[in-house]
């Protein structure tokens, strides 16, 4: 359904953030995208939703098709019109709108009745939001904002839902709830593309996964298989305590002495 | 390598027997027209400039100043902005002999000091005591206070207002309005009138409160020392109130286009004012109208053309005299004005006496009413030039 082929993206005149990335999300499938900071995950989502230009970036080559239609040529609203919706990185809720209004914006494209049903569903998922219904988004706690961001995207009734680190800032209990929600959405027929640092969760949710390293796909495969890979275990799953595993990035040769002048 | 002496013009050049300097090159005299071509007084400036042009075109055709010099113009727009006026004045001055038109009270005031040291004779478009106190200024009209008094005296004489009445007054912030107010006070005192005055700003547009205030005190007339918009608003309010109250205004307070507005009919019936330049339906005015129509294919909207024509005629007199004196330098021009003392303009404007600095150059004017039928929208109602011996000294 979503097919990214040989995509390269640059920002301004810096080095390319994506280099020849190819990736596929089948209809009704669920795909995870892993990768360390700065690997280019967010960039990929920006390319799909065509918001790169807002960040002074552009796709220099390659293509992104959705149901065979080239997305790079459509504008953002039109892409959302094709039911490709994302939960952007960093929540991006409307701070001056109330919780309820935020959800309304999400459901704007669907009819009133439908939106009301979707909203009730979101409140069911996140009772916390219901309690905070009339509070302005800006004043919510970090986790509450994250719930709102997810809930808001659900309101849009997507066919492909892209989530950029949905577990960010959520309490462990909620993380597992969100994972269940995502699975349920997927089961109901919505395709999922999920970016996660919590690889545990991502691989639990997704059938297939790609690993992005410095703008390139460095690894891909079935979730179940990837989970067994040493690299994944080591870098993305919390297996540090494994005696055999080597510690990850290092403090080698680094030191920071105290500041010489007292306060 | 470096630029020549500031100013550039060959000072002290002798052409024939006449000494010339800045503002003349060859046989061309350049006069400055510094006005407001895009701001609030754009239309007035434009018509005044047209009147000036009309006059000098005729003179140039007939051989020019003392049969030798043709007159040309340097026209600039300060858009009614003082800062622009000053910098444009600076730019124009080396190239002009005198300022035929300089629109704006505070604009003229801002350049006055320079004009005095640069010896540039100038014709401002306002008549304040401040300007009239300078040797380099040709005040083109009766000072505002006398103008107001004159209109009031006429109204008294005609019985439109009676001694002992209450009259309202609306006057504009600034020295024009204040002078008009001063005149009204003097006339009121002299004639036992009670004056109810309010000051307004150029940006005010609704005179309801002020008029109501006056009406509640049983005013029998309302005087206006302000801009035409305010006059119109006063008329509208009076008309809505079904009042039958006379109106009197200073010479900058009306414009014939007011006739087309709500309250226009009321104005035509109730409004009196003075004009310094002849109306276009009579005497010399008719001639000007004809010449104007020939050139522009239609009647002007106001009699500002006549004003331009009149001041050009006065400037002509001065330049001729300077030429006679053999000194057509800016200094010579100022000197010629002093020599002449009194200037006439062939009946377009009253005779102007510039011998007593700080005083009004004239004490007579035409009293007019607005009239849809008349060219320029004005008809003269006084019997020729009108004056009153009651006017303050």
């Amino acid at each position: 359904m979503l097919k990214v082929s040989d995509l390269s993206v640059t920002y301004g005149n810096t080095l390319p953030a994506l280099r020849g990335v190819s990736l596929e999300v089948p209809a009704g499938g669920s795909v995870a995208l892993l990768g360390s900071n700065g690997a280019g995950k967010t960039t990929l989502l920006r390319a799909v939703s065509n918001t790169l230009r807002r960040h002074r970036g552009k796709a220099v080559s390659g293509s992104i098709t959705f149901d065979g239609e080239e997305l790079l040529r459509l504008d953002t609203a039109a892409i959302v019109g094709r039911n490709v919706v994302q939960v952007p990185e960093g929540r991006r809720i409307f701070g001056r709108l109330t919780v309820e209004e935020n959800l309304r914006v999400g459901g704007m494209r669907s009819g009133g009745r439908e939106a009301a049903r979707a909203r009730d569903h979101v409140y069911e998922l996140f009772p916390r939001l219901k309690e905070r219904r009339t509070q302005r988004g800006q004043l919510l706690s970090g986790g509450e904002q994250q719930m709102l961001a997810i809930g808001r995207a659900l309101m849009a009734g997507p066919r492909l839902l892209m989530l950029d680190e949905p577990s960010l800032g959520l309490a462990p209990k909620i993380v597992s709830q969100v994972a269940e929600v995502v699975r349920a959405i997927n089961a109901a027929g919505t395709a999922i593309l999920i970016i996660e640092q919590n690889a545990n969760m991502a691989l639990g949710v997704a059938d297939y996964a790609y690993v992005l390293e410095r703008g390139q796909v460095s690894l891909d495969g079935d979730s179940a298989r990837l989970k067994q890979t040493d690299e994944i275990k080591h870098l993305y799953l919390g297996h540090s305590s494994d005696e055999g595993g080597a510690p990850a990035p290092s403090l080698v040769g680094k030191s920071l002495g105290p500041w010489k002048e007292g306060r | 390598s470096a630029k020549s002496e500031a100013g550039g013009a060959a000072a002290g050049e002798e052409a024939g027997a006449v000494k010339t300097g800045e503002g003349i090159s060859g046989n061309t005299i350049t006069l400055g027209l510094l006005g407001d071509l895009t701001g609030p007084f754009a239309a007035l400036t434009t018509e005044e400039n047209q009147g000036v042009q009309l006059y000098w075109d005729q003179v140039n055709e007939e051989g020019g100043v003392c049969g030798q010099y043709t007159v040309d113009f340097d026209t600039k727009d300060h858009a009614y902005n003082v800062q622009n006026a000053v910098s444009m004045y600076r730019q124009m001055t080396p190239n002009v002999l005198a300022y035929q038109v300089l629109v704006g009270g505070s604009h003229s005031a801002a350049v006055l000091q320079n004009a005095e040291s640069d010896n540039r004779l100038m014709v401002p478009s306002s008549a304040t005591e401040h300007l009239a106190s300078s040797e380099v200024v040709l005040t083109p009209a009766m000072l505002y206070n006398l103008d107001m008094e004159l209109v009031m005296e006429y109204m008294l004489e005609q019985g439109v207002i009676a001694k002992g009445d209450t009259v309202g007054m609306i006057y504009l912030e600034g020295d024009y309005g204040e002078a008009a107010h001063k005149g009204a006070e003097a006339a009121a005192e002299r004639n036992g009138l009670t004056l109810v005055a309010s000051m307004v700003k150029p940006t005010d547009s609704d005179m309801t409160a002020q008029v109501n205030d006056a009406l509640s005190k049983d005013a029998s007339a309302i005087l206006i020392g302000s801009v035409p918009g305010h006059t119109s608003s006063v008329a509208t309010v009076l008309q809505s109130a079904g009042a039958d109250v006379a109106m009197g205004g200073s010479w900058p307070s009306y414009s014939s286009s007011l006739l087309a507005n709500t309250g226009g009919d009321y104005l035509a019936e109730h409004f009196y004012a003075a004009t310094m330049a002849t109306t276009l339906e009579q005497g010399k005015g008719a001639e000007i109208l004809k010449a104007y129509e020939e050139q522009h294919g239609g009647a002007p909207e106001t009699n500002q053309v006549a004003m331009g024509y009149g001041i050009a005629a006065m400037m002509h007199q001065v330049l001729d005299r300077a030429c006679e004196n053999g000194d057509l330098t800016p200094e010579g021009v100022v000197q010629a004005k002093k020599d002449l003392g009194t200037l006439t303009s062939d009946g377009v404007m009253p005779e102007m006496d510039y011998t007593r600095l700080g005083e009004s150059p004239t004490r007579e004017a035409w009293i007019v009413q607005l009239d849809k039928e008349a060219p320029g929208g004005l008809k003269t109602v006084s019997d020729g030039l009108y004056t009153s011996e009651n006017l303050s000294e």
């Binding site: 900071n37 970090g142 986790g143 993380v175 640092q197 969760m201 990035p249 403090l251 306060r263 | -």
Partner: protein, 262 residues
């Protein structure tokens, strides 16, 4: 060093309208330790940090830092006393470079004012140079050196998080408040930050108050943990105690974490 705790919170209460974001919270942090505060979303953890750094005022209760009462102090005054903070939602100056953002951390350590800066006074220049050197050191410590000249807004989310931490470190605090410092980092990166924090406490005499949802990190790093729920403290103890606490498991952890297949 006296036995007096570095930070002591007594009976703090904060209300927003009807909501009690903090309700009778008391705990203390001993010098040189890592003390964590955990709890469900909206439990009041960030609010607590906001109280400590002076952004919110308590309606009741008090906060003492090194024996000094903070309750009425403005944030910038508190920072001067030696409290540094990294924010949960990035609060960086997106258009300024990483270096400039880190130099902002030196704000409370530097003195030059409008006049001396404007006139380029030698004292101001010297101060600038000295602090810049130190900041570069800190940046290198957090692997930010390659980004020093980039506007922060152009960095990826994870890198911006690191800038946050680095800026807090640049404040040379004696108490470091970290609000979910590793959110948005992968396991490897988390471990890196964790070891870095460990190193800091031992080498710099730093005390850390950590708010974090990553249980692995919290449990492995903390000397002591306070748990909040609906603004109320529901538990306080060592990691071992907390992990076993049924109230905590019910309110927060859900199942016991242990690599559960979510």
């Amino acid at each position: 060093m006296s036995r007096q705790p570095l930070l002591e919170v007594r009976d703090a209460e904060v209300r927003f309208g009807a909501v009690k974001a903090l309700d009778g919270v008391s705990f203390s942090v001993a010098e040189g330790t890592i003390h964590s505060v955990i709890g469900p979303n909206g439990a009041g953890k960030s609010t607590l940090l906001n109280v400590l750094s002076g952004v919110y005022r308590t309606h009741r209760g008090s906060v003492h830092f090194r024996g000094e009462d903070l309750t009425r102090l403005r944030p910038d005054r508190i920072t001067r006393l030696g409290m540094g903070r990294a924010f949960q939602n990035l609060a960086l100056s997106g258009e300024q470079t990483v270096l400039d953002n880190l130099m902002l951390g030196r704000q409370s350590l530097t003195r030059s004012g409008f006049l001396t800066c404007g006139l380029g006074w030698p004292s101001a220049r010297r101060e600038e140079a000295r602090h810049r050197e130190r900041v570069e050191e800190i940046a290198a410590f957090l692997d930010l050196d390659e980004h020093l000249g980039s506007p922060v807004g152009e960095l990826s989310y994870g890198s911006q998080k690191r800038v946050e931490i680095a800026r807090a470190l640049a404040m040379e605090p004696s108490l470091l408040l970290l609000d979910e410092p590793v959110a948005g980092m992968n396991a490897g990166e988390k471990r890196y930050i964790a070891s870095l924090l460990k190193l800091l406490t031992s080498s710099l005499d730093l005390t850390i108050l950590l708010v974090e949802h990553d249980m692995e990190m919290v449990m492995s790093l903390s000397d002591r943990i306070t748990v909040l729920d609906f603004g109320r403290p529901i538990a306080d103890g060592t990691p071992e105690q907390i992990q076993q606490d049924p109230a905590v498991i019910g309110a927060y952890l859900g199942t016991v974490q242990e690599d559960a297949d979510v």
